[in-house]
């Protein structure tokens, strides 16, 4: 490794901060990270448990790359990744659709998914599992756990699920334990919304009425 260092490790009061260069490629970054962990800083980085903060600068990073970074650091048993921070240039934010997250899998007891924007989950949420995001939540599967839509106070957010059997529903600050009458046996998709601060449930086909944004078809 010649020239400029891509990774700077700093000690702070409650652990270590890794400052990662935001211009070089992801593979170079990982190579240097591994090199630092295995060789040059090997001595420094052994010992008691240390919390690590990763600062990515203005780099945009995918979940997969994030995991590769965390895995590399986790190789050293005593390093615990506390947080990953990046502040991407707001000008680069994709418009509109970029904040829909699509996930596939079962959210099991003890697992939590938190996202900015809307969430489309292809799978179930089991009792003890929870999903929460700032926008709407759509679950193509059974919702048996907890869902929190509009978690930063958006009262227009909705929660929709193919099978609505939640332990608890939250929209913005409204928390609701579903009463028995919600438990219809019809196999149809439903959504929860707020009306005058109270939680309501309705068929998914009524969502357009609630949203009041009809789809406009050309030539009809």
């Amino acid at each position: 490794m010649t020239g400029k260092q891509r990774i700077v490790i700093k000690g702070v009061k409650d652990g270590l901060v890794f400052l990662l260069d935001d211009r070089c490629g992801m593979d170079e970054l990982l190579a240097e990270l591994n090199d630092k962990l295995e060789r040059s800083h090997h001595k420094l980085l052994t010992g008691p448990l240390v919390h690590v903060k990763l600062k990515l600068g203005s780099r945009r990073i995918s979940e997969a790359d994030k995991e590769r970074l965390v895995d590399a650091i986790r190789q050293r048993g005593n390093l615990i990744v506390q947080s990953i921070e990046s502040d991407p240039d707001p000008a680069e934010q994709p418009a509109g659709a970029g904040n829909l997250h699509v996930m596939t899998g079962v959210i099991r007891s003890g697992q939590t998914v938190e996202r900015d924007g809307h969430l489309l989950l292809l799978g179930d949420v089991n009792p003890g599992g929870s999903v929460s995001c700032t926008g709407d939540i759509f679950i193509m599967g059974a919702l048996r756990g907890m869902a929190h839509a509009g978690c930063r106070g958006n009262t227009d957010a909705v929660i929709a699920a193919s099978l609505m059997r939640p332990t608890q529903l939250r929209i913005a600050d409204c928390i609701s334990r579903p009463p028995e009458e919600w438990m219809t046996d019809d196999a149809q998709m439903e959504f929860a919304y707020l009306e005058d601060g109270r939680m309501r449930i309705d068929k998914i086909s009524r969502l357009s009425r609630f949203r009041q944004d009809p789809i406009v078809f050309k030539g009809v």
Binding site: S109, N126, R144
Partner: protein, 263 residues
Amino acid sequence: MGEAIVVTSGKGGVGKTTTSANLGTALALQGKKVCMVDTDIGLRNLDVVMGLENRIIYDIIDVAEGRCRLAQALVKDKRFDELYMLPAAQTKDKHDISPDQVKQIIGDLKRDFDYIIIDCPAGIEQGFRNAVAGADAAIIVTTPENAAVRDADRVIGLLEQHRIPARLIINRIRANMVKSGEMLDVDEIVQVLAVDLLGIVPDDEKVIKAANSGEPTVMDPSSRAAIAYRNIARRVLGEKVPLMQLDDKTGMMQRFRKFFGIG
């Protein structure tokens, strides 16, 4: 190279040790070379259920710490020549062995045995991490109770993080309670947990009697639980065996009553 299967559940008392003992014995019945490993250090039970308690000389901690060779610590079963058990230590605790050490031991055993059945302690802490360290696959044991299903779900989630494929055994099913809707039924549980079902085991008093006498239930072919465990072993070996019908246990008297419409 053998396969290491961990038997786990999260919740205690659902039948992990019983399942381990019976599955291990059933695989040995099928002519496989099997080693059962008890990782419940400090609360070892597998040896009691197998009736091998008085033959233990060394244990898994002795192996990990180099006080003996692995082969010296293995206890041979009294019924089968190709069935062995590696006992847990009773005086130490879960922190006296590391996942890496367990992984090493399981790796060594896999060279000599067809199947390694690892009996996991309850909980999801150090003991659990030790038990799953060397496993290639997992069997989740649950009972038809909400609390057990929740814990099973949690454990499946953790195993997914370790990339260990899990299959399900539903233990201690009471057909009459399922019928009357007082007990969760098999379909409901499988739907929530979303993993493959390896087998169902009916509630059977003979299991308790067998465990107390140190003779695995599976040796007694008159017991329905024994048949269930034998079926499970065959499925582990890759055979296709239909699920046991739970409600065919209608005795002469019941059939008689039904005939006259009073049952």
